[in-house]
Subunit: 352 residues, 4 copies
């Protein structure tokens, strides 16, 4: 496996920093450039960034001069990861794609585009082929691949074993979301310490729509037929640093499913990319925990290096069929780590 030189767009933001951390010792990807807003461009990274990770800035990035987000400035780059803010991501990401540089992005702007995969590798790996319909660049090398919202990832991953085994008819969920989901400076401490906020702007719409695409079927034209699963979501912010916790109630398409059946569906489910040995793929993409008190954000957000979705309290529900709790690390599995895994799959499938 040769090494890829990658760029990070939005490198000074919270997601950008997470990309830099996750790529520090990546076996395939080498950070060759960091880019950010004009305000940061031209400065050494260490001066441009307000570093919030717990490890020091990796030495190879620390003294890099930050570039502006312009494809011409990023020569010799094989592709870019984008941690750009949605306010600027649309234009910049298209510019890179048009310049023939693949864009693996965490931004939400292109998630609903007809030709852009909204990818969770263990759930809809075949959606990757949607990029054949993309025409951003003349030579066809430039394309855009997105990962879903940080709740959609653990939601679709934890639903997938049930979808495969029984079919899912409808879903009601309440999310309890960590403050890191709002970036930095993000949520003011006065709003969230010892408190719960009953509203996160724009979040519920994403949670209800994005799974339709992720769980949708790719047809012969490489277009996604939306899953059409009714989902109701209520999104809350809780005083947790990392890890979104979901309280999920599911109605199945199959009648008479017992708790034991459901447990077996989780235990027997096998990730479709399990045999690809992708570096960021966790041992258990979906792990069923037995203890009533698990999963917990503080204890399990980092399970599987933050790439595992932990499921617990699986039980029959008085209404609908099943209730359970799912947990995913919002800035790793649900953001930067998910994007890195997407890139790894793209490599394996020959798109990079």
């Amino acid at each position: 496996m040769s090494t890829y030189n990658v760029g990070v767009l939005g490198a000074t933001g919270a997601v950008g920093q997470k990309f830099i951390r996750l790529l520090e010792n990546h076996p395939w990807f080498n950070i060759a450039a960091v880019a950010a807003s004009e305000r940061s461009a031209g400065k050494p990274y260490r001066e441009a960034v307000h570093w919030i990770e717990s490890i020091p800035i990796p030495p190879n990035v620390k003294n890099m001069v930050v570039k502006s987000c312009d494809p011409k400035e990023l020569a010799d780059i094989d592709f870019v990861f984008s941690g750009l803010d949605a306010a600027v991501a649309a234009d910049i990401e298209r510019t890179f794609a048009e310049a023939g540089i693949p864009v693996i992005t965490n931004a939400r702007n292109y998630r609903r585009e007809e030709t852009v995969p909204l990818l969770v590798p263990e759930v809809n790996p075949d959606h990757i082929h949607m990029i054949k319909n993309q025409q951003y660049s003349k030579n066809g090398n430039g394309f855009i691949v997105t990962n879903p919202n940080c709740v959609c990832v653990p939601l679709t991953l934890s639903l997938k074993p049930l979808v495969d085994a029984f079919g899912v008819d409808s879903v009601i969920l309440t999310s309890m979301q960590a403050v890191s989901g709002a970036g930095y400076p993000g949520v003011p401490s006065l709003d969230i310490m010892g408190n719960v906020m009953p509203y996160i702007g724009g979040e519920e719409e994403k949670i209800m729509w994005e799974p339709q695409k992720v769980l949708g079927k790719l047809n012969a034209d490489k277009k996604v037929e939306l899953a059409g699963i009714p989902i109701h979501a209520s999104a809350y912010r809780v005083p947790v640093l990392e890890g979104h916790l979901l309280s999920i109630v599911v109605k199945l398409k199959t009648e008479g499913v017992s708790e034991k059946d459901a447990v077996e569906a989780f235990l027997n489910w096998k990730s479709p990319i399990a045999d690809l040995s992708l570096p960021s793929s966790p041992e258990f993409p979906v792990k069923l925990m037995e203890e009533d008190r698990y999963p917990q954000p503080r204890l399990h957000a980092y399970s599987g290096n933050g790439m595992q979705v932990s499921v617990g309290r699986l039980r029959k529900a008085g209404i609908f069929d099943l209730a359970f709790t799912a947990l995913g690390h919002n800035t790793i599995r649900g953001a930067a780590g998910g994007a890195v895994l997407n890139a790894e799959l793209l490599v394996k499938e020959g798109y990079l």
Copy 2:
């Protein structure tokens, strides 16, 4: 209105302390005795208690000698409030009732008894007459009245306007519960700081059963016909000090109810005890808030002196009919304060 001399059972515990705080300046009720376990009996209250309230111990109670929980020790008492632990409440409370001393209790032991009201004065005030069927004491003066679980109170109060206006078919809820609900020492800080616990032992059963009785109908025999509303509850502990927050989704018995209809149902609903001028009755037993970011435990748990249930984010749900958030102070409205309000209603109705 003459003044009543009351005793507090379990006076050194968290709920007992809340009783003492709430009764400090009560216009009708005067604390004449405090009782606790044998370990505490005989000591001045200030030495027996590990006081956790933010105000100093009220001067009238501070130096009272703690009695044991024996009716013979509490002479000249008109009735008792009980903040006893469920492990000991059953026997002690029956002993008091048999001795002809009314028991207004927060303990769960008698909540399911056929002749014991499970009372939320604004929801089922007529259930108070169930005590006529009680035969604990020979002269009929001793009776037991309970208040529901700390989630059941805000749940039934926030459902009541919808029950009255449209009928409620079924309910799915996720509760985010404050640590004070577990008493003191209660939840270890290592379990909950920056964390969410996905399980509270025994809680979900209570949340699903108790509303059936509270919302049930009293028949001619003064027995309650359970409401029979399917409820699914998932109970989580969150790092909040006071105030249980509920994420509720409701299916109505009436079709075609719009968000506007629902808003009006809340605004037009009138508490059946509104005209009784009970001292602990809040101006708004159920208050609908308009701002998306409300209600919040830290800001609104103490609204209406902790007796108001605050409702917000009322909206149409993609599944079922309506979604909303409800908040109630768990140790006031959902415990000691609810019991005090019960006693006030008992006074007005002539039972005390």
Copy 3:
């Protein structure tokens, strides 16, 4: 006592909101105008403000149209409270003083001015007469009075009984400061949840300098001779909402002071304004608590309606003479409430 019509400058900020809350039912002061930046001017207050207090916006202020911070816009105002940010306070406050409108400010800009009192009414009430040296307005009616930094207030209040009884030679303190001290949005939750920040920009300098003026002597020319007490301060931010806690070690000018002597100094100390019956004056400006586990920010910040400084763990220190803990509510006693008390003293002394 006639009523004063007051204006609040910076009315939409965190300190401005606290002024509005504290003045809601003030017996002497009536809010007649609210003023803020040009961005807010012209809007109803309820729309201009991101309200963060736990009570609703007081009805009398809710629909007021916000003015710009221009003396011409605030007619019929007897004086103003200023919660302005230091970045703009200097010019605006001087403009008001020059227009003959007294300014009672929480901003830091004029604290070190030779003619401006840095006032803690129970500590240096005589400093109020410094305003006779002010010449901001031609008629002499316009003046500026400041209150100190939110650490300086509990520090000087808790030192005063020792200063009076024994003299204070030098002070080493570590402050553990609440997040509300940084205003809103203020401290990002990602910085402080489950964490301590070892630095607060500019804070230590204020803690070391301002007590020199507050504890200084007013000479015959109505100028302050700085106290000249060496103070070393280390300022930390802790995950507390309200209440700055100080760990203080003091060297006295008197030798051989025992713990008992020190306790008596606190118990016997009498506030010089105790007999003035100022509405915001607490029963105990400095309260000595006996229990080792007291004072605590969560339990005692609001003691005396947030105007009491609570002192505890008073003991002999292995180095220097005495060690103790002091707690003060940073946005009430240490900010808006302190300013209101200053205004009350100004009324009593005939300056308003």
Copy 4:
């Protein structure tokens, strides 16, 4: 290097669990037995323990049958680590030493014994030879080695470069201690969420005494002459999970030391065990950080796998000479990890 079979006493407690976690992949030490109270003895470890670590119970320990703390039950053990509670440690640990089994303990019981080293390997490695004076077992193989209190470790480590370069005359410190220092269940959430507790029972005495022994000199008789440095400590509990933060002010024995001199003292200081390649020894036992906002418990407690003491905000103090902040992981560097490092040094020195 051959492998040692070790036992863990108090294996179900918080410190015991940390030992098990730290030893999971230790290159020299293999857990061959776990022992705990009679209540746990005979059960599989997974059933006896309320596991609170974020990783699963290591597979090799999960199904081990817990032994009672009796040397006869632990055959084939080379030595034991003790995480026993002080209430029972004294007798049990002596029994093991008398049976010829070395005891490396975190308990406080023997810290002040004349022949027992109170060891911080980078500070007083020569104290290890005190064990030659021990006579617990007839063959001399059984001995006891202790590590200090969780504040004493970062305190002595951060003072050592100054002791070596300039001599330390006296120290005033305020500690802000994490809740994990109190074990599990430990600090109730109601006591510490959004709060600071100004008292930790027995803590200040340990902080003031133990450094005298750690920093003391070993004389020719292998006895320690206490350092005799006056220390004043004020210990506070803060809502932090892991990492004790110290606010330290130091008077030096050398006059005229500049901030630059002090910085160089830290940068030039070399650990006396730096060349021994002990597995648990961090790259930087004491790391000086430049940024004002560092060190922080949440970001840096785990630096150097929890074995690094991080120092920051080094500056001249207005009183005494220098002020700085020091941070150490309280349950790793200040407890189990320190004990493991002690054992590693004992191996290198031929005592194990």
